[in-house]
Amino acid sequence: MRMSEETANCTICRQPLGENGRCQHCDVETTHTWTIQDWRPLLTLSLLIVMGFSFTSLIVSSYSDKRSALAAEYTAAGIRTMDEWTRGARKNPAPAVDEFEAALVYSHDDFQIQLKLTDALMATGAASEALGQLRALRDQHPGNALVNLKLARLEGRRQHVDEALRYYQNALEGEWPDHTDPVPQRAGVLFEAAEFLLSLGRHKEVEGALRSLAAVLPNSPPEQEKLASLYLRNGNTGRALDIYREQLTIDAKDTTALLGAAQATLAGGSYTAARRYVEEVKPGSAESRELLAKLDRMEALDPFARSATGRIRTERTLAAFRIAAERLAGCGVPFAQALVGNVGSPASANEKDPEQWSGFAKWAEQLSPMMNERKLRGRDDVIESTMRFAFQAEMAAQKDCGNPTQDDEALLFLARERMGVNQ
């Protein structure tokens, strides 16, 4: 290293330096002037940097490999734990949380591991922790459909309806992983959102969601039949039946479509038409047999069936009255308990407000003297009135009195057929 021979100015007063390298005015020490001829230190420094870079690269690379291996190992362990828990081979999924957390220490930003961690947290019941994790993920990937979908499910489970619906919407509009086809994914989200809305009884919004679904769904049977079943559950039996019929034009033997059409027809109020669809299902599945049994029960209780003779009509009317009275009695309605003759039964502990049932009591008081075969014979007006009483009693009991029996259910279907769905 050597100093330049050329003169320079003082750094403080900017006046020329003297020959001895000191400022004549302010007496500060002269600074070195480094030139390109001072190549040795510069070259050594450059070599040091190159060597440092190479060595650090080597170390970082081998350490990164080790970390990746550890992340993979812990992720695999977490997935194994979750699988065992899902299969029921393990009672507690908590180790999976630790394993995914450890995996994240070694692969800080791995999106998939973070998603798996939220699943593990949900499995352990740590909903608020899972929510925190998901929100953090959403902060990082606001447009990610998967994260929004998981958030929607979690918020739905927490009964935070607005948030859940917002996240479902975000999931619909969000981005799906590159290797997946977004159309079926979005359809899946719409199905899930429709199910969620259905569970909340928000029928109009379900209709909207289903219309959106119908616009994007391919015309393949599984999707269309799933759509029809949702229409059916939402009470739009006409639209459901249309879809099932459309599917039957493609494949007349499609069991799902036949059963769906039967249920739609039944819900629409025609068990005779429903029977025709069910009878087409060959060989009869458990579902079709169950549906047929239901139809048989309905027929056995229907006094208005064309094939019913006068005696059968009176028998069916008496049976309907008895079933309705038993349903009310089981529900703790006092007058009904008197009608079926089990006053003081355990059910009476749940006695209902008498005023709510006073109309039914008066009605039953008028009908009960007529409830024998002789007096009912030829009295279509009384049969009509008795069946209306039975239908309305069943419908009232449906709201307050728990699950119906199969006979009650049959009466309810008949009520829909006779009185319309919306009553």
């Binding site: 050329e6 007063c13 002037t33 060595f55 957390e101 800080h108």
Partner: protein, 598 residues
């Protein structure tokens, strides 16, 4: 390119060997690389060197961080919950081994490294031995990796400073430059360890240099940035913890943050007082116990870690989880308390390692805990746990390390969110004021005094007014002589006063001073201009320049002109040595000793 044949190489050498040809090649070399064409002064070279230091320190810190991770993997395994008895035995046994090395062979590696670097700057002319750097690297990596409750930032700071010091010595830099190498390297080391250049620069200014110095700022910034670039090149851009989004919805939320400031201030006091009392007490114990102390600290930390492994090491991964609602408030509070205890034990026993990360850990846990508690007490207020954890870090940093500027900018830099600045400033100020009110001496100054050193401190430096030329100058009676006026005319002015010296304006801002004898010398030509008598020029001063600069210029000159910055020939007054001394006496700053604060 066709290689030279032996015949052609021989002929080339022959050609160069002849004197005429040699001269020709020398001329060519001078033309291509003329002396001074690409030349840089030492201060410019210092900036280039700062970049090189940043790069090299970046390499060192990257490897240091990997060494900590590898030590952790090797000693405690990959799980976040190391099993028993490993979790107890490893920190205890490693503590014993580290104590033997630190007490017997490398006593300078004990502690965080901040004060040692400051000591190198102010006491040892920037000297930090290579042995200290290497041993700090190894022992800190082992202590943090084995679970002692300490962080990597402060050791990285010392490693960077040591590397810079070694480079400076090798390049035979001037003493003044060599002294400045330590903070330049320190900033590089800290920046790479914390992945935050602004924080590193401010921390080094507040805690290492201890005063604002424009002269070194450029080099410190350059080294910090270059080291962060290196660190991000190798370890990626990912932050130490994921920062949740934050928005201040209502000004009323600031009250809730103020509560965190109070809690943070009290926690800071507890920590500093614990260190203040525990460290000297441990040092007073018999010499043989010094070998056991880090091991016992490790044993206690190990026992805590059976139930709360979060207290081990730096704990950034746990900060990340705390910021995302992963612990209930009770657990967060317990973790803050246990970390305080564990860090006090590790640090007070002299185990090598830093305070930066544990302070942030305590702050995050405390902030999260206060947030969750407030959430339960006042459900109507929006209390984002992540933001509270972040602000809590700043509060503890301001309260414990007493670096207020760093604490604010650190949170801004780490969060990248300007919206958080109001809560941070409020919370940090409250915490800082509480800490300062009940603990006058900042932690690092306290530690250096316990070690028998008195190093300058930004917080403790008395607020002195800087005296300027204007405070000392006096107006000139009459006028200055002009260089072009005749000596005879000048003599009339000289004769009218008793002054011994006279200022001469030579035009274009140039001035000189002539003595009465020179002007009245009968041998001089009466008709000649005054300029003819001038032998040397004198520098000019401005009213706003410091008296320090004026004194440097003064030398043995009787007076100096003070001119207007807008008109260099307009004389505003004159200054003499007596004037300067009078000004200092008047300001009461002539006393040499510094006011003792504690």
């Amino acid at each position: 390119m066709k290689p030279h044949s032996p015949r052609s190489r021989e002929s080339l050498l022959k050609l160069m060997a002849t004197p005429v040809r040699r001269k020709y090649f020398e001329t060519l070399r001078r033309m291509l690389l003329p002396q001074g064409l690409i030349s840089i002064r030492e201060e410019q070279f210092f900036l280039v060197l700062a970049i090189a230091i940043g790069i090299l320190a970046g390499f060192c810190v990257v490897i240091f961080r990997i060494a900590i991770g590898a030590a952790r993997l090797l000693l405690l395994g990959g799980s976040m919950h190391p099993g028993f008895p490993r979790v107890v035995l490893v920190p205890a046994l490693m503590g014993l081994a580290i104590a033997v090395a630190a007490v017997r062979f490398f006593p300078r590696v004990r502690g965080s490294g901040v004060n040692q670097t400051k000591g190198a700057l102010y006491i040892y002319d920037g000297y930090i031995s290579a042995e200290t750097v290497v041993s700090k690297f190894i022992l800190s990596a082992l202590s943090i990796g084995s679970g002692q409750s300490l962080g990597p930032e402060d050791p990285a700071l010392q490693i960077g400073a040591g590397l810079a010091s070694a480079l400076g010595r090798w390049l035979k830099l001037s003493k003044e430059r060599l002294r400045l190498m330590a903070p330049v390297g320190a900033a590089a080391g800290l920046a790479a360890a914390f992945n935050a250049p602004i924080t590193a620069v401010l921390f080094v200014i507040e805690e290492v240099i201890g005063r604002w110095s424009a002269g070194i700022l450029g080099a410190v910034v350059l080294s910090a940035i270059s080291s962060v670039v290196v660190e991000r090149w190798f370890l990626g851009n990912e932050p130490l913890f994921r920062i949740p989004q934050y928005r201040l919805d209502h000004a009323g939320e600031l009250i809730a943050y103020a509560i965190l400031g109070v809690v943070g201030g009290v926690a800071s006091l507890v920590f500093v007082k614990t260190i203040k009392n525990l460290r000297p007490w441990l040092r007073r114990q018999p010499q043989w116990s010094q070998y056991l102390q880090p091991g016992v600290a490790g044993l206690l930390i190990g026992f805590i870690a059976i139930w709360y492994p979060q207290v081990m090491g730096a704990g950034y991964e746990w900060i990340d989880l705390a910021m995302h609602n992963r612990f209930p408030w009770e657990v967060l509070g317990i973790l803050a308390g246990l970390k305080l205890l564990a860090t006090a034990l590790s640090f007070a026993t002299g185990t090598p390692g830093g305070l930066f990360a544990p302070v942030l850990f305590m702050g995050a846990m405390l902030g999260g805990s206060v947030a969750m508690l407030e959430q339960q007490l006042f459900p109507s207020i929006a209390v984002p746990v992540g933001a509270y954890a972040l602000v809590g870090m700043g509060a503890l940093f301001a309260g414990i390390l007493r670096a207020p500027m760093t604490s604010v900018f650190m949170i801004l830099e780490v969060s990248g969110n300007y919206s958080i600045i109001l809560p941070v400033i409020i919370c940090n100020t409250i915490s800082y004021v509480i800490s300062r009110s009940f603990q006058e001496v900042p932690l690092f100054d306290l530690l250096s005094r316990q070690d028998g050193l008195d190093l300058p401190s930004l917080e403790e430096s008395p607020e002195q007014a800087i005296l300027v030329v204007e405070d000392a100058m006096h107006p000139i009676l009459g006028r200055a002589l002009l260089g072009d006026e005749a000596i005879a005319s000048a003599r009339n002015i000289v004769a009218s006063t008793q002054d011994a010296h006279f200022l001469v304006s030579l035009g274009d801002g140039r001035w000189s001073v002539l003595s009465r004898e020179t002007l009245l010398d009968p041998a001089s030509d009466q008709g000649a201009p005054v300029r003819a008598l001038v032998r040397v020029r004198v520098p000019r001063l401005y009213q706003d320049q410091s008296l320090d600069v004026a004194l440097r210029f003064m030398k043995d000159r009787p007076m100096l002109p003070v001119v207007h910055r807008g008109n260099l020939d307009l004389l505003m007054g004159v200054v003499s040595v007596e004037d300067i001394l009078r000004a200092y006496r008047k300001a009461g700053l002539a006393e040499p000793e510094r006011a003792e604060v504690s």
